[in-house]
């Protein structure tokens, strides 16, 4: 009998599939499509200390097999998350990963302090959002600043701490190593790639911020390579993501070394994608006679 359960940061996940931050809200929008307790976990929309109204102008642009987004971390802020969303999420019967972003170190600290008091399973420290000007990503671009923020945050929370890494980092392996060195319990990768689009008719850039974040199947080969590289160079577990559209992609990430896998853009293609992939993963395990994902994790 196949058992889909995996341990990640000492927490039990009923299966390795989680939904990616910013693509699943707080779950509400998907509850009518399937029973969300089927998921291994849900990563919340990126939270900041104070509410954020997000970016103006175009927020989406489709590219070949990819999606550029410039949402700009629109979110209700940590307080309202705790009051209005978390109680709902707790009833869903799946693990909650609170994704926290920020513009300044102080914001990060305060937000993490507040979230740490709550009943969330994991904190995902987002230092990789390319869509807010003075925001997250600058902390995640090199191992020195990554190490610094992880050290600080580690000192203020006892929650399992996962750091979400940027594919735009100078060297994602060294960033992951810095996370490990400073006591992070895991890393998640990748966030979106910094990309851009130009409207040649109007001769203007599509996004007010000029650059936006690229996600979807287009980035999968690169994301998979990054997960593989990181997994060979750190001992903390990985949440792998970037263009996963079906169970086959998910298995590739697991074989490359990911313990959990996350779907982002795929949720937009079909709101039931989470359930579909969980079912397909189960079927795959059975067909291939895999008893536990440990058997295939990191075998490449």
């Amino acid at each position: 009998m196949s058992n889909m359960e995996v341990k990640f940061c000492d927490i039990s996940f009923k299966n390795p599939l989680v939904t990616g931050s910013g693509t699943f809200g707080f779950g509400r929008e998907y509850e009518n499509f399937y029973d969300l307790s089927k998921l291994g976990g849900i990563s919340t929309k990126g939270l900041t200390l104070n509410p954020k109204s997000g970016n103006k102008g175009a927020r989406l642009y489709e590219t070949p097999s990819g999606l550029l987004n410039s949402i700009g971390l629109e979110n209700p802020g940590v307080d309202r998350f705790i009051r209005e969303e978390l109680p709902y999420m707790k009833k869903l019967g799946t693990n909650i990963i609170a994704n926290v972003g920020g513009a300044t170190m102080e914001d990060y600290e305060k937000a993490i302090e507040l979230v740490s008091k709550e009943d969330v399973d994991i904190i995902e420290l987002n230092i990789s959002c390319p869509n807010v000007k003075s925001g997250g990503m600058m902390f995640g671009l090199d191992e020195v600043s990554t190490g610094k923020i992880v050290k600080k945050i580690r000192s203020i929370t006892r929650k399992p701490l996962v750091v979400k890494l940027s594919p735009n980092a100078e060297n994602i392996v060294r960033c992951a190593q810095a996370c490990e060195a400073e006591g992070a319990d895991g890393v998640s990768l990748v966030n979106t790639f910094k990309g851009m689009a130009i409207d040649i008719k109007s001769r203007k850039k599509v996004f007010e911020n000029t650059y936006a974040g690229l996600s979807g199947p287009a980035i999968k080969p690169i994301a998979l390579r990054m997960v593989h590289e990181v997994s060979k160079n750190v001992n903390i577990p990985i949440i792998g993501m970037g263009g996963i559209m079906n169970y086959k992609d998910a298995i590739e990430f697991i074989m490359a070394g990911a313990t959990l896998v996350s779907i982002g853009t795929a949720n937009f293609i079909n709101p039931s994608m989470g359930e579909i992939i969980v079912n397909d993963l189960k079927a795959f395990m059975e067909k291939e006679n895999i008893k536990s994902f440990e058997e295939i994790r990191g075998i490449i």
Partner: protein, 224 residues
């Protein structure tokens, strides 16, 4: 998964597509439509009509997604997700429906579901489906080229429902004030309120076109 019943070019580059099945939906709602893995995102298309055993969509071929739609033939498969969104409400009183360009698409089903409506349709070059629209309203007014707003006596109506180019809807809102409800268009990814990509800036803060809209009180919307 639906099956194409028919997919006809009714005017240059404009298609009327019927999909078999018992689909639901209110006036002004839309479906997210796709065929296969490509293009990546589904395309939002308004409900043009719902009949007993089929739903229809009226669309213009713009880019890759609609190009693929246009090539669909009888019996081909199509994926419809929906109905999504908050459409036009059923209100008492005399209502004008004003459509510009492809904005006319949702007004057919809207008219069918309302009593006592007049329809104003503005086309840039040539009109189509006049007969059909005539069958679902009291008075049909058609304008080819120029401003459709020139034809409308706003005082005659209790409500104005409009869909079309933003400039047109902005103008109508100016003229019709708080009688006007507009159907807003934004690029969409999820269609269900999860990605926050279809943001519409309103007097009541950020709204999601796919979930809070596409129909909003005209005066609430900050036009771009």
């Amino acid at each position: 998964m639906g099956k194409i019943i028919s997919n006809k070019e009714i005017s240059p580059n404009v298609y009327l597509m019927k999909v078999g099945g018992n689909y639901k939906g209110d006036m002004g709602q839309f479906y997210m439509i796709r065929c296969d893995n490509f293009p990546l995102l589904s395309r939002p298309i308004s409900i043009h009509n719902i009949e007993k055993d089929c739903i229809s969509f009226l669309y213009e071929v713009k880019g890759q997604g609609t190009e693929i739609l246009k090539n669909l033939k009888e019996d081909d498969k199509i994926i419809l997700q929906g109905p999504y969104g908050n459409g036009f409400e059923k209100r008492e009183g005399k209502i004008a429906l004003i459509g510009g360009g492809m904005g006319i698409a949702p007004l057919f089903y809207t008219a069918k579901n309302l009593d006592n409506v007049d329809i104003y349709l503005g086309f840039s070059e040539r009109s189509f489906l006049e007969k059909e629209y005539e069958g679902v309203c009291e008075n049909l007014h058609i304008k080819i080229g120029g401003y459709i707003t020139d034809m409308v006596d706003f005082d005659k109506y209790d409500y104005i429902y409009t869909c079309g180019p933003e400039k047109m809807m902005e103008k109508i809102t100016e003229m019709g004030k708080d009688k006007v409800y507009v159907s807003v268009e934004k690029h969409m990814a999820c269609g269900i309120g999860a990605c926050l990509g279809c943001n519409c800036d309103t007097k009541n803060g950020n709204k999601k076109v796919c979930k809070d809209g596409p129909v909003f009180l005209g005066e609430d919307v900050y036009y771009e």
